[in-house]
Symmetry: D2
Subunit: 264 residues, 4 copies
């Protein structure tokens, strides 16, 4: 059998040169390109313009930390049990990045893209977008499904990240179809659902990333990269001011044994 070959367009290493994304890592990238720009470039294989970089980094900032989320607690509990292995604590935190909490960005991006894919023509004004949005919300409701990106347990009257990302998108001339549809959902959902919900930060991030050209399968990965920084912050804090053992103790001390025969 012939020797397989494994192509890659990310980077190579030889002698005294390291090439990354077609550039000389040391002379062209280090000290000139930010980590957020590099991340965008690694994901899309395209160098971001300064405008794209600004919006992308703003999205990452909005997603990096959310306090004592299940993922942050899991990371801190794992660091408590295995302080010799910080990679385990980070990994454990990221593993909570699934459908239930972190999935909103991906779900919103996919939902908006699906609606857009079904359009014959792209609307040209708010009224046109409102029509599309209202129909989409109605279809979700009839199918018994939630509209991703709507609602937030804390920021019921508005998630501050949403207007900020929309503002940056406009400033950088990157306001596209996904964001337009998302805002239209914000304007029209109340008449369908009967209540006013905020457009949440995870959802607007999905719209912004989609308008930035990030493909659907990588929306969640982008959130995870942002969250990696937040988790590192939590682990740093756990080292400086540990709370994980208190979390553990508060659960263990309040554990109540229920005889298995009482299980329904």
């Amino acid at each position: 059998m012939s020797t397989p070959s494994f192509p890659t367009s990310l980077g190579t290493s030889e002698g005294t040169t390291i090439t990354l994304l077609g550039q000389d890592l040391a002379t062209d990238l280090m000290g000139q390109v930010s980590f957020g720009e590099l991340a965008y470039w690694l994901i899309t294989l395209e160098r971001p313009t300064p405008q794209q970089a600004r919006l992308f980094e703003a999205v990452l900032l909005g997603l990096a930390d959310h306090g004592f989320t299940p993922t942050a607690i899991a990371a801190r509990l794992t660091y408590l049990s295995a302080p010799d292995s910080i990679q385990g604590a980070l990994a454990a935190g990221l593993l909570g990045g699934g459908s239930r909490f972190l999935g909103v960005t991906e779900d919103t991006g996919r939902f908006l893209a699906d609606v857009l894919a079904g359009l014959d023509r792209t609307p040209t004004d708010d009224a046109g977008w409102d029509e599309v949005a209202e129909a989409a919300v109605r279809a979700q409701r009839e199918a018994g499904r939630f509209v991703p990106g709507l609602g937030h347990p804390v920021h019921k009257d508005g998630d501050p990240r949403t207007p900020r990302l929309i503002q940056i998108a406009h400033e950088e001339d990157l306001y596209g179809a996904h964001l337009a549809l998302f805002e239209a959902i914000g304007r029209t959902h109340e008449r369908v659902l009967g209540k006013r919900l905020p457009l949440n930060g995870a959802g607007v991030s999905g719209a912004a990333l989609a308008d930035l050209g990030i493909r659907q399968e990588l929306l969640r990965g982008t959130v995870l990269l942002a969250r990696c920084a937040g988790l590192l912050g939590h682990i740093a804090e756990e080292i400086r001011r540990p709370v994980a053992n208190d979390v553990y103790m508060s659960v263990d001390r309040n554990a109540v044994y229920v005889d298995p025969s009482q299980e329904s």
Copy 2:
């Protein structure tokens, strides 16, 4: 028992405000602070100066991707097997961030810090640093231990990331004791070890991060954050141009069964 409280200095969320690191996330941070700056801030609880940010982001860039490392291969194999769960693929890649390959940055940072901690006075010139460095290398050799940060299987004549980070450190006036000692090791090790080895990029990163004030327990975590971006790039590439199944097949097809009774 009283209700426990769980202090955190990272962030809070209320109503229409999200606070992160004492700042209003939407108005003070998003669109104004880069992701790399935020990461530094989350880790140290101190806002980086533009100089610190430049050096920190350069370190992250140098560590983000190294081609088909065991971690990148593991991430791609996991994505192949579980494409529905990108968080698993990222986590699997990060879990390889242990002592053997990714540990150099942490080992170097700790080694340099240990040597510095044992000094009565900080040297003031190259000759002073050379004396300290040569003694440290000699001590390692006598103890049968390697000097972390020295050597590279590919860049035998010099790792291009090293002079670049040192240059940036000088440009930003952040060249400190760890970097000074590290360079001195570069100048003096040959007379002790009998061969000339390059100062590698992972090692100079440890020195730079230490001079940036990143504590020892978080050096590896910083490398992992950088690597998270690289792994996302690999997963993105796996989606565009998959190779993991070829890796799997090349191992499976070349598997040779050895009867257990032949095991020594």
Copy 3:
């Protein structure tokens, strides 16, 4: 706010007694109950009969190891990179237990359960089961979906685990509706699909676990428990006779750099 309580029916610890599943761990379980029996009991909260235990343990054996699977390779690569952290290597291996390869057991269990749930009456003979099975296979084909549990890249003429598990199920009087439907699919699919495919071991395992009363959400978890033993065997072998570095080298040396501008 009141103190929360956290109920559990698994176990408690006090003074000189440890209770697990309502039993005294030391005097009633250790030395009397096998690990496989305990696993069944922990999953279902019901003590298995000797018959259930025999079938359940046979399922675990059939799923424990499959050679150099992507998961085994990932575990070995992670152990290579982080030998100080065996928990990372095991975790990395398990993280590949997703939809693509390890999902067959769960997919088959769910598929069979869905078909059974749609029946007005349970068939009473082979002819009755054949009718149900043929209709189910036809429906899958019309919907453009594969029938889970059918087919195997290696065991094209028959997976030896399938007749063995069916035989044990008969021996232990545990042959139930899921297994009956699964065998009927084996008898009837050829006339619908136009080709003869084997009933694979992962699929019959799903049928057997379902007939053992393991709920759908835990089918994949059961496979992962089995695989945990196999992965430990691979890590043990990696310590005795390492191959992971050869895997890494064979990929790295055959890496081919493709300029990003050539990406489609």
Copy 4:
């Protein structure tokens, strides 16, 4: 470059045969060998005698579940966040299997082995073992180190798993040097440390596994296999009676924001 080969002694698959550990999986193993026996065999490449199997399975039972440990809580929090990916929840739980809580078995096994390796002659009676044990405890204390295997936060007057495993070891004629030394530590430590501590279950498990021939690097892995079953039990319980969201809420609601400027 020549094609690499990847030797393995675990298993092969061809046509209608699957070989595992030199046996025909379907006809020789399934339905005849327990999962615990297979695990021992996979780890050591030796088929356990019925005596070895009984002791090994008893060790696994003693280690499988410990209630709401940090690892069980982390697994449940991860399942809450990512119910679509049970492999992530299991992995997150296992990742806490590091030095702090789960490390006792490995630490004890290594400690006992180190002491035994330094002996000129193996003691032949309790008095001989007591002398060795007392010296070892004294050496640990002088070095400022704890004696692994001694002490337990709950079972201060005796961990019930310890006498039970020792009893089974005697019953199966597997009581060896590690267990003898461990019991001698139990008899003699008080005169050195000034307080009476129990020989804990994790520690006696390390001694028993060492006497069973499990090598040091795999002691922790064995504990993780046992814990895998316990974690599956926790995830099963989380599905039946969820508590993870209450854990999350109890932390989040009791989070207290501390201004970063107040950090020491």
